[in-house]
């Protein structure tokens, strides 16, 4: 009976670790961080974790102290989007688990809490990102009018991107539509006010779409030797950049800029 209980506990730990790995992968953590967290938590329960972490799935093998495999399973990773609240929360939780071994039920509760943690209110997000766009425009030496145009273009571009994401359109298509909307608005202003130099507003109105997280994570993965994941993230980042470029080119052609 005790042996069976121990086996059940190992299975539970394995499934929790797979869930943690999957959550981290889909929230924008780099491969090295996922591996460190999985190893850290497994060690707290006197096991070693060997994981194969890919873009779409995680394969995990747990070894006991005699280096015998006691758990082996695979979990698919859903692509959710960047969420640093989950990455920070799990990282902090893993440190707490390392310091004081948690009951498994508490880990599950914490993961549920992190998964259901509220995002910022949509109105706040849209305004903050639009302000960031205006800030970008100022950094590119745009005028006050350019900044205002950039704010409006970013606001509407982000709105279109959020709405298309909500109806589960292809992510690349969402980026294209977001970029096209933002540059279309900025391009329209540029056409109506040719005397105002709105080049900076046009150029910076799409910067809310730049794939900063995939590109930086890709570089970190390359440095750490996780070449396969690095290549996948790089191609993903380049794909997003390409769709932004296509969206901009459509507006450039429409307004003959």
């Amino acid at each position: 009976m005790k042996m069976a209980e121990k086996e059940n506990e190992i299975q539970d730990i394995g499934m929790i670790l797979l869930r943690i790995g999957s959550m981290l992968q889909s929230s924008g953590a780099c491969t090295a961080r996922i591996r460190i967290i999985l190893e850290r938590i497994a060690r707290a329960y006197d096991m070693n974790a060997n994981a194969l972490i890919t873009h779409r799935a995680i394969i995990l093998t747990l070894l006991n102290q005699q280096e015998e495999p006691v758990f082996n399973s695979v979990k698919r990773t859903a692509s959710v989007g960047v969420n640093f609240k989950i990455v920070s929360g799990i990282s902090l939780m893993s440190l707490n688990i390392k310091n004081s071994k948690w009951q498994l039920v508490n880990i599950i509760k914490e993961l549920d809490k992190l998964e259901n943690a509220p995002h910022y209110h949509r109105f706040i997000v849209m305004n903050a990102v639009s302000l960031a766009g205006a800030g970008f425009c100022f950094l590119a030496e745009g005028s006050l009018f350019s900044m205002s145009v950039c704010f409006i273009a970013t606001f509407l571009g982000l709105f279109v991107k959020q709405e298309t994401t909500r109806i589960h359109l292809n992510p690349y298509l969402c980026v294209f539509l977001g970029a096209f909307t933002a540059t279309f608005i900025a391009g329209a202003f540029r056409c109506f006010f040719p005397e105002a130099d709105l080049e900076h507003a046009f150029a910076t109105s799409v910067l809310f779409l730049i794939p900063g997280v995939p590109l930086i994570n890709s570089f970190i993965d390359f440095i750490d030797g996780n070449l396969l994941n690095g290549i996948i993230r790089l191609i993903n980042g380049l794909g997003i950049s390409f769709m932004i470029a296509i969206g901009m080119i459509c507006s450039i052609v429409i307004f003959n800029l």
């Binding site: 440190l95 706040i124 800030g135 150029a203 900063g212 930086i216 901009m248």
Partner: protein, 159 residues
């Protein structure tokens, strides 16, 4: 004065991205501070006539180190602070000019050979600048990782 305004704009941009990435509200002040510092260093060095690639590298490295150390105090993974803070340094205007150049080059029926070569050189120059800046941003932000990651992995293996 313009430098301070630019640095503040960088901080605002960093906060915008932090909110977009759903970073915890307790990290926002740190991100704002690091965003300001990064742009202040980059724009400040540019006032001395230093190349934009070099200034971006110093700005990114300062963001990398600041986020690495401040992350310890607020108990957050360094990258969740560093990534939103670095994004204001992305060379958007160079990327845009490169793309416009490509579009014009693709539709170059009515321009002379001299104009074509001039356009090509401008496009090439903007593209190279943008790519190098993106590379130095990634290197700069990863600098503390490069220096300290080995030790942390070694520590985990020893445990």
């Amino acid at each position: 004065m313009l430098l301070i305004l630019k640095a503040l704009a960088g901080g605002v941009a960093a906060i915008g991205y932090a909110i977009l990435f759903n970073t915890q509200s307790s990290s926002l002040v740190t991100i704002f501070f690091i965003g300001i510092t990064g742009i202040f260093i980059k724009a400040g060095l540019m006032l001395f006539g230093i190349n934009v690639i070099i200034t971006s590298f110093f700005g990114a490295t300062s963001v990398g180190f600041l986020s690495y150390y401040l992350a310890r105090y607020i108990k957050r993974p360094p990258l969740t602070i560093a990534i939103p803070s670095i994004i204001p340094m992305v060379p958007g205007i160079f990327l845009y000019r490169m793309m416009i150049g490509f579009v014009k080059l693709a539709d170059s029926r009515e321009i002379t050979e001299h104009e074509f070569i001039k356009l090509l050189s401008h496009t090439y120059s903007n593209g190279i600048k943008a790519i190098f800046i993106l590379c130095v941003l990634a290197i700069g932000i990863s600098f503390p990782y490069l220096l300290f990651r080995k030790s942390s992995l070694h520590y985990i293996h020893k445990k």
